[in-house]
Amino acid sequence: MNLSIGGRISAGLGVALLILLVIGTVSYQSMAELVESAWRLTATHEALDRLSELCSQLERATDIEAYYPIIQKLDRQLGELRSLAAQDPARQPEIEALARLVASEAAAVQEWARQPKAEKAAGTIRMLSSRGQRELTEEIREAISGAKRRQPERAQRWRADAVGRVRHTVLVIASGISLSFLLMVVLGLFVIRGISKSVGKLVAATEQIAGGRLEGSIPVTTKDELGRLAASLGGMAQRLEQAQGALQDQVQTLQSILDNLRNGVVVADANGETLLVNPAALQLLGVTATDGRLEKGWERNTLYWPDGTTPYPADRLPLAAALRGEAVDWTEVFVRPPDLPQGRWLSVAARPLTNADGSLRGGVVVLNDVTAHRRAEAALRDSERLLKAILETLPVGVWVADPEGNITMANPASHEIWGGLKHIGTDQYEAYRAWWEKTHERMQAQRWPLARAVATGEGALAEPVEIEAFDGTRKTVAQSAVPLRDPNRHLIGFVAVSQDISQAQQREKQIRELVEELRQRALDLEAVNKELEAFSWSVSHDLRAPLRSIEGFSRALLEDHAAQLRDEAQDDLRRVVAGALRMGQLIDDLLRLSRVTRSEIHPVTVDLSALAQSIAAELSKSQPEREVEFVIAPGLVVNADAQLLRIVMENLLGNAWKFTSKQATAKIEVGRALWQGQAMFFVRDNGAGFDMAYRDQLFRAFQRLHPTTEFEGTGIGLATVQRVIHRHGGRVAADGAVGQGATFYFTLP
């Protein structure tokens, strides 16, 4: 059924009402008719009584005067009766007959009324006394009585009729009520059944929606209110689902933003309980959240004043301030998370959150890591300080000019150089009195390097200029100027640099003089060296020649004239020979020492072991009668001048050979060992040794520790050894004790 519940109920009620209305109407009509017929019966009875009364009065009337009004009343009563009997056809003739009687009576009276007064009186008697009249009156009476007599019969009939009607009416009412009741029951059942089924489905669907399952439709498809309710509930659920989906998307987006935000966000309710804290906030603050909540009052234990040590004043804590309804704009705080001992600086802002009615709902805190920014600022400050310090301590004058060339800044050194400073523009540079160093021409204002740089944008470097400082002193400066540009090559100014080169020039002059002096000395030295060489050459040639004469002729004397010479003279001559030979040896050794000093060094790889072996062999051959044990370590290799190294080894091994000459079992070793923490080559013997107290004298020329009579020698050998080793960049050392042999160490790089 497509009718709405309201419609159905209304239709049912309407039908029931109609039935009741019909029943009522029928009953009412029936009762009204009954009542009316009862009333008419009564009224007719009364009208008949009044008629009969009138008739009595008419009979008793003696004069016409009285008669007439009665007739008139009679007529009126008759009219009433007629209207009462209008519904009853059976009574019509009776009343009509009565009416005619009355009408004729009335006509007689009216006849009388038109007669003159005198006649009237007479006529009255006559008329009243006329028989016609009498009869008429009698007829009227008779008619009334007849009507009266039929009255009970009629009442009887009415009673029977009324009972019938009442019974009928009661039947109609009873059946109507029953019908209505039945209708209501059927309708009620039908409606209740339809409603309860749909309501059941609705309830289930509503419970599902309430449970949060918004998907799926409600299986109520009827077109009544429940159907519409279900449809709109379904629509509502769908819209709710859509709205929820959109809301979830939004929440997820917001969550994602908060999770990925580098700014820390903390939201708290009015009691300070954390409603939301994002990972960045936890990370920046170095705190942990339990169930997404920070410990209440976390600010007090976490935030420090930017100096890093003073706890943040309790009355200025950002969240606390926000919860008091105050806004906190970006302000710096310091935190020291457990994982970051050096701590970090945060910029913090806080705002109160209010409800629509303006009451406080909570607060939000936003955190920004500004450590890098702060460090960068500190670095910038440092670099500015550094720059300033550099400028202030630079020994060169520095001027800074704006892009137009107006001098805006100058460092202390510039004041020092010029004895003051003038903040002037390029056209006034003439105030700085100067001359070109080379030409001594006066410096024109526009020719200053800075002025040229301003004019052309080109820099100039270290142009020598003579200046007269503001205090009158004359100086020489190297003047430079360059444009300053920012990274975008945009001109931001100029810098001019002035270096006081007066002293440098002075020094340069001194250096030139020194160089000249040195050159002269080198020349002198060269001359001396040449002289020395010539001397050496001369010694080589000339000093030995006379010796040879002394020695040769002494020997000639000994050979040719021995017979003429006494033993004493011969002995003297032999001493002369020996002296000459010794001097020859001295000259040879001196020349060798001199040669060692003068000769150039040509380092090559030298097999020191082989060299020592060959010298040892020569020594053994020179005195084959001696038994000397040579222990020469194999594989000793050095990088040295071969000839000079041979001189070294000849001297050292020669010495060893010499100083072991008095040993029964001589032993000479050559090898490499650690000496005073350094690996050194050594030549060791078990000969006479020496007193360590004199070891410093060992290497000096002509110094001898043994008398010539004991061991021969010129005292130049070890001096030569030392000179060779020193010329190679090595060092020599000696170790020994009297009677316990000697060891000579040397290094070669």
Partner: protein, 148 residues
Amino acid sequence: MNSKLILLVEDNPDDIVLTQRALKKQNIANEVVVARDGVEALEFLSGTGAFAGRDTTIMPLLVLLDLKLPKTSGLEVLRAIRGHSRTRLLPVVVLTTSDEEKDLIDCYSSGCNSYIHKPVDFTRFVEAVRALGHYWLVLNAPAPIRGG
């Protein structure tokens, strides 16, 4: 033609005597012509100056040349000898007191045949002269003299 002549170029009279004595001691009987300086030595060889008119076909068998000489030095004499076609092949033994490396190199590079260092010890000098005479005067076959 070859002779048995020895040219001793030496300015020191002591050395002249000692050299002659050493030669004698070794029984070297060759005639010894002494030139007392470089100029004289070259005049002898070229037959000019003091030696004008000398038969220059007679060339010494050996020249003993000191280095340190007045006027023209021994090295210049050596170079002059080597620079002249007639004397180019003469055996020249430098006999000097010097054992300077520079002198040795200069002499050898200028074409001396031998370099002998005169020791102070006369005994060793005699020994040196002996060896020298034995080699140059006995064993060595001189280059033929080309006429002129």
